[in-house]
Amino acid sequence: MICAPPESGRTDTAPAVAVGIEDLCKNFGSLAVLKHVTFDVKPGEIFVLMGPSGSGKSVLLRHIVGLEAPTSGRVVVGGLDATDEQTREKVRMGLVFQAGALFNSLSVYDNLALYPREHHIGGEAEIRQKVHHALQILSLENAAAKLPSELSGGMRKRVAIARALVMEPQLLLYDEPTSELDPVMAATISEIIASVKAQYKVTSLVVSHDRDLALNISDRVGILFNGELISVGPPADLRHPANPVVADFLNPRIDIEHPRFKKLEAS
């Protein structure tokens, strides 16, 4: 496993970090959500984690940012244990929540400016410049004064990404960035993820079940199924998957004669 050295200071040139998931298990009560998941994300790569709904993808992300603690196993971010509170101070991580998780009482501008203001990074003029730059990348300049409740679903997602960008993160985590969006907006978000990686040299971990996103912008793709990681490899492998479960997940055929739910009822 490759691990970048931990960052002590918050400098603008902080390098991308590696993420290591080592034999991670998570149980909620008697329900095993993650079962012995092991993989690593190299610094600066885009790793897409795919899988059906309820396969434990979002829970895995919450482990990486330290919002959940593993039942067993370890999550390492930039060489530091993710459960350690200091990891968040030393490694700048941006998580783009599925629903945005924007601060509803603050305007879009203040949502973006909160991180630099609270961490005293730069003066108000410098912050304004950073925020406007992030808004510009995501073509949101006209939304700066709006409240999150006045935005459409696609705009909220973009604001959430912009808010993560202002942090100048070393690791960017996206939770279903293209779900609930129209195909063009979904493609736009994929392009944004790829260009953000190119521009900021950030490690990106994308949780998604968007096949186009995985095939077009990822360096590697992992597939999580019922809490188990059943395949990891470059996106080219996904065009002709060997595993029938993966094949069915990636290219589901709509079969009206033999529908899946009927098969479930029969078994």
């Binding site: 919002l67 991580m93 941006g94 998580l95 929540f97 998780a101 509803n104 991180y115 609270e118 942090m167």
Partner: protein
């Protein structure tokens, strides 16, 4: 057994929250804007209802005691009775109950919805402590505003008593006599005891409501449940603390 466990868990997490907020006290000067905003929400917007309630409490107290005391020719003591019961007990108690219902419920609802809609998680991933920016300004604001509210409550209550004593035919003692009796028996330390009680109640109410809000899990229904819980727990805390704080204050003053 489960309920006992959840009570202990609640106490534990409340104390933890207090310690985490206390660790950020040095950041308070930088959070002036949030502090003043909370002072406005907690203090200023609560004033009208405090004034209305305390006026009527003072008035009814004078009426009831006047009715009872007139028979024994003890009308002169109405000022003392209203004055002392306002300053020592009813002022801080009633304000605390209003704060629980008006401010505590709003705090619990706001923090619970922030938690449920992942805003609190977002703060944590951004390495911004919720205890620092959500809890600390509210605790500081209640400490600052509670004495003001209790003092205004006392004054309005005394005034309500004076008006009833003056204008109700059965009692009809002049305001001079009423306030002379009041001044004669209400000492500075009585008022100070009341303010201290109010300070304790207000602080505990805000802390408890913040903690219950931040520990909400689930959806809209749980937000509602948290608000109810926050108000109920606050009221119980006020009643329990009232006895012990009063006992402590009486012990230290003698």
């Amino acid at each position: 057994m489960n309920q006992l466990n959840s009570i202990f868990a609640g106490v534990g997490s409340t104390v933890q929250l207090l310690l985490r907020a206390a660790a950020h006290v040095p950041s308070l000067p930088r959070q002036r804007a949030r502090f003043f905003e909370q002072c406005y929400l907690i203090g200023y917007t609560t004033l009208p209802i405090v004034a209305i309630l305390m006026f009527s409490v003072g008035a009814v107290l004078a009426l009831q005691s006047g009715y009872a005391m007139a028979e024994y020719g003890a009308k002169d003591f109405i000022g003392s009775l209203v004055g002392l019961s306002m300053a020592r007990e009813l002022g801080p108690m009633m304000v605390a109950i209003l704060v629980a219902g008006r401010v505590g419920s709003a705090i619990a609802a706001e923090l619970a919805s922030m938690k449920v809609y992942q805003e609190v998680d977002a703060l944590e991933t951004m390495d911004i402590s919720p205890a620092r920016i959500l809890v600390l300004p509210r605790l500081a604001a209640i400490l600052f505003m509670m004495p003001v509210l209790v003092m205004i409550a006392n004054l309005v209550g005394w005034f309500g008593g004076a008006i009833v004593s003056r204008f109700v035919g059965m009692i009809s003692i002049s305001s001079d006599e009423y306030f002379a009796a009041l001044r004669g028996s209400v000492k500075i330390h009585d008022v100070a005891d009341g303010l201290a009680k109010g300070e304790v109640f207000g602080f505990v109410v805000v802390l408890v409501c913040c903690n219950i809000g931040l520990n909400t899990r689930g959806g809209p229904r749980e937000i509602g449940a948290s608000v109810t819980r926050a108000v109920v727990v606050s009221l119980v805390m006020i009643l329990v603390l009232d006895y012990f704080v009063t006992k402590l204050l009486l012990a230290t003053s003698t």
